[in-house]
Each structure stands twice: as C-alpha cells, then as structure tokens.
C-alpha cells in the first residue's frame, strides 16, 4: 500500500470513481489520500472555498476505513474517498453556518440523511464549504465570509450558491461535494468552475436536516469531476434504489436530443454560441438523433420561479427579519424584501401555474426527445467586479441574467445536469445543460458521460492560480 501520493497526484489525475477504485484495490490508503486532501484544503486559502476543515475527524475516519479494509470488511462505494459539502447540511453536534452571520453558531441536533448515506458508503468528510448567504446568490459573493474564488482565474466568479462546492471540486481538493439547487445553485458553479453537477428531480432526494430556502424548489445535488462520479454519488444518495453507474454508456445511439429553437438559444454571447454548436456536433457524432425542438413559451417561467421562491424564503426568514434585520448582507435582505411584497394570492397562483407549464413540456418537447440540451448560462463567466451589485435594477439584472436558463427548470421541477462544453479565450469554462423528464437522471448522466468521454473537456489541466 502506498503512503505517499505518486506523481501525478492521484487527487489531480483521478475522478471520484478512479480514486475509489484505487483505494478499494489497495493501491493507496484512505489515510494517505485524506492527508493529501487536507493539505490541499489548508493551502487553498486564496480560494476561500472552505469555512471549516476537520483534520482530526477526517484522519480518524480514514484510519478506521483502512482498518476495515485490512480486516476484509465489506467496502462501500465511496470507501475512503475525501469529500466536503456546502455548509448547510446538518450533522448532529456540529456547527452548520449556512453562509450567514445569523446561523454562524448554529449546532444541529440531527444529521442529514444524505450525509448518513455518504458515511455509510465509506466517504470521508474533510470540511464544510463556503456558500452564498442562506443559499441566496448566483455569483459566489458572500457579505460575511468573503467571496469564493474560481480556481481557473481568481478574478472570476465561481457561481453560486454552492460556490465552495464548485471551487473545491474544480481545484481537485476533493473528489466530490454536495451542493443545493433552488434556481441553479448546483449548475451555475458547475458551469463556471468546469465540473459536472446534477440537480435531481424535485423531491427525489430527501431534504430533511438541511437548510431550507424554498420548499417548492429546493433540492440537494452532487458536484464531481465527471458524470460517472455523479452516477456513483447518486446511487449512494438514493440508498441504492437505482444503480446509475450500470446505465452509463459511451455512445448515444437511440437517444433523441432536442435543441430549443427559442429562449435558451437567444442572446448567447458569441463564444457560448460557438461552444454550444460544437457540443451539438459532438452529441450527433456520438450517435444521438439531434433535432430542433420547439418549446412552450419559457419567457415567463423565470419570473414565476421568483414568485414561488421569494415568499417561501421570506416566510422562512420572517422572525429573523423582525429581530435581526441588520445581520443580513444587503443583497440578501433586499431579495427577501421581494418575498415580503408578494401577496399570498400571487404566490398560490404562481405555484399552481406550474402544473400547466410542466404538462406542456411533457406533452410537447419531451414527447419528441429524451433530453433537451442548452447552454447553462448565456454569457461567459463574469469577473467578480462585474457581478457585485447588491441592490436595485443592477442587482436584478446580474441575478436574472446568470440564472435565466436554470431557474426555469427549477420551476418545472425537472432534473438537469451541467458539464463543461469548452473554455473561452480567457481560459474559463463554459457549461452545457442537459435537461430531462421527471426522474430521467440516469439518462442525463449516461449522456453526459458519453459526451465527456468524447469531448475530454474535464481532462484539461488546471493552471496554478494560487
């Protein structure tokens, strides 16, 4: 068994599945991998991705994992694999800060079932990751903790709200991470940081013992270095209800992939449009039938998503808005103000309209194709200084533009996966979004895996940015 990581560093060279296989085969110990991940995490201060690192707990768990292997005990699918998660998943007896001042000292008395599933599969949690305050913010800024930085270019945004999850996975510190997605919060950091991320169908994963934002839209979701890693994580997170890895494939024969004729393909920056066209060619080369597909009008969906999440979030925060109004960052408080302004009648109508919109999607495009492929974002990754507005129309524009292609899908409750579709002229990743019908996660991960094998975008070496 190896005690020192070989060159090239396994954490850099391997995705989660390869790393788990190396540990399971005894090529390297869980302790050595965990030690390496901790060293990288502690050296990653310029990224501001970690809010807490649990060196002692992680090493103790890693040693126990090695002892279990030495005793020929059954090994879980993630045995000895270092992970870290957005600081909103509760573990009994531990602080979960939710990116906030208000919950900075909150100690949960229960453990999130998703963390328990990862524990049971043998994963090692090395720390907790930065996030937008209360998961409200698509850029990676945080008024209390400072902004998280993009490993590809420290001046660029990571995307949010799962900012630390995107940065820590992209920086090859951990093999995977949990995030959460209410309007794009897994897919945006995945797109901007150049990793794979899945927003599952609303309700597929348990949402207990994790910070709530909007019950109608919230879902946890994994980020990792590859979609086959997402498949392994999802098999664990769904407690083995589905073997998503078994469905992976290297071609797309028999699949029909739709390219929208409107909304998702409008107002794209030239580099995004070119990368999207090239991605469509790759999907076609892999054997998919790629067709143009007319979607029901999507232009109102992002606004309807806001009319659902904002009052739900405001209701969640009402007591603190009354008792601790000065303890919110300005942008977050301004966004909660919107929720306070929405009458219950408007909220109920916006929520009920989802039935009609989802029915139209299922009867229209999803009757013609298995997957809808779109860019994840219309524009190339903004620099932090260009996305820092905290109030007024400028704030609404930044947030609206960044999440225009993801919030719509959250409103519809559908699963969607983001994976890199290239790099812009500045060397920053651009993201492809694959959208499926309800519970089509397996199809999305299989298609993304085939695309990643062909495109090799996930293999691009990370520049030494810090």
């Amino acid at each position: 068994m190896t005690d020192q990581l070989e060159t090239p560093d396994l954490l850099d060279a391997c995705d989660l599945v390869a790393l788990a296989d190396h540990i399971a085969q005894g090529d390297i110990s869980a302790e050595a991998v965990t030690q390496a991940a901790l060293t990288l995490a502690e050296a990653s201060t310029p990224l501001n991705a970690f809010v807490r690192i649990d060196r002692e707990g992680a090493l103790s768990a890693a040693r126990a994992a090695d002892a279990a292997r030495a005793q020929n005990q059954p090994l879980g699918l993630l045995h000895g694999v270092p992970l870290a998660h957005k600081d909103m998943f509760y573990r009994a007896g531990r602080v979960t800060g939710c990116g906030s001042k208000i919950r900075a000292d909150f100690v949960a008395d229960e453990t999130c079932p998703l963390l328990s599933s990862l524990d049971a599969a043998g994963a090692i949690e090395i720390g907790q990751l930065n996030m937008a305050e209360f998961a409200m913010g698509p850029t990676g800024h945080n008024a209390h903790l400072g902004r998280c930085r993009n490993p590809w270019n420290l001046d660029a945004i990571t995307g949010g709200s799962s900012s630390g999850s995107g940065a820590a996975v992209a920086a090859r510190i951990v093999a995977g991470a949990l995030g959460s997605d209410t309007g794009g919060s897994v897919r945006l950091p995945s797109a901007f940081c150049g990793v794979a991320g899945l927003k599952p169908t609303h309700g597929l994963l348990a949402n207990t013992a994790m910070m709530p934002l909007s019950e109608s839209l919230d879902t946890a979701g994994p980020l990792a270095r590859s979609s086959r890693s997402l498949a392994r994580l999802m098999s664990v997170l769904t407690a083995g209800a589905q073997d998503y890895e078994a469905a992976l494939r290297e071609d797309l024969k028999g699949l029909t992939i739709g390219l929208p004729t409107a909304y998702y393909t409008e107002d794209l920056s030239p580099e995004i449009a070119a990368a999207y066209a090239a991605a469509a060619d790759t999907l076609r080369d892999l054997g998919a039938r790629v067709i143009e597909v007319e979607l029901p009008d999507q232009s109102h969906l992002a606004a309807m998503a806001a009319l659902v999440w904002a009052p739900e979030a405001a209701a969640q925060h009402l007591d603190w808005l009354r008792e601790r109004p000065g303890d919110y960052g300005e942008q977050v408080r301004n966004r909660l103000m919107h929720g306070l302004a929405i009458p219950a009648t408007t909220y109920v109508q916006a929520r009920r309209l989802r039935g009609a919109d989802l029915a139209a999607m299922l009867a229209g495009p999803f009757a013609q194709c298995d997957i809808i492929a779109t860019p994840a974002v219309r524009t190339i990754t903004p620099l932090a200084e260009d996305a820092s507005a905290i109030s007024g129309a400028a704030m609404d524009k930044v947030i609206g533009d960044l999440s225009a292609l993801t919030r719509t899908i959250s409103y519809l409750g559908l699963p969607a996966l983001a994976t890199p579709m290239g790099f812009d002229t500045r060397g920053l990743p651009m993201g492809l979004q694959l959208i499926g019908a309800p519970r089509a996660e397996g199809t999305l991960m299989a298609a993304a895996h085939a695309y990643e094998c062909a495109s090799r975008w996930l293999d691009r070496p990370l520049p030494k940015a810090y």
């Binding site: 169908t201 609303h202 309700g203 029901p296 009008d297 109102h300 606004a303 309807m304 009319l307 009402l318 808005l321 009354r322 109004p325 408080r333 301004n334 103000m337 919107h338 306070l340 302004a341 929405i342 408007t346 109508q349 916006a350 929520r351 009920r352 309209l353 989802r354 039935g355 009609a356 919109d357 989802l358 029915a359 139209a360 299922l362 109030s391 409750g413 309800p438």
Partner: protein, 75 residues
Amino acid sequence: MDDDQAGKLDARAAGTAWLEQGLALPALPGDGERVAMHWQADLALLARAKASPAAKAAGDFFDQPAGRFERLLRA
C-alpha cells in the same frame, strides 16, 4: 410636487405601512419603495404567465387542479 413625485411618496408610504403594520417588521430606508415597486411588477408578470399558451390550453384557472404538478412530477 408633481403627480409623479406624489405617487412615489404614496407608494413608499404604502410599502412601509405594509411592512410595519401588516407584517410587524422594521422598515429600513428604501424598503417601502422596494415593496411597492414589486407589487406592480409582480402583478404584471403573473398576468402575463396566466395568458401564456400553456396556461390557456389548460383551461379556466379556476378549475385547474392544484395537485397537477405533483402528479406529473412523481407519476
């Protein structure tokens, strides 16, 4: 004071009253305007959504079943 300015003052006062009296919340500077601005904008957005082809095709909103979305997502 012209009508526009007076209208803005009325809207701010209404927004502030909604926060302070309706929700028993402290209104910070700018909150009243923000609330009032959203009232009008959101009603327009909702009206547009209700006029969308998908909503129209679903029939009279009054008779649209509230649980339709859940059934479609989880069936």
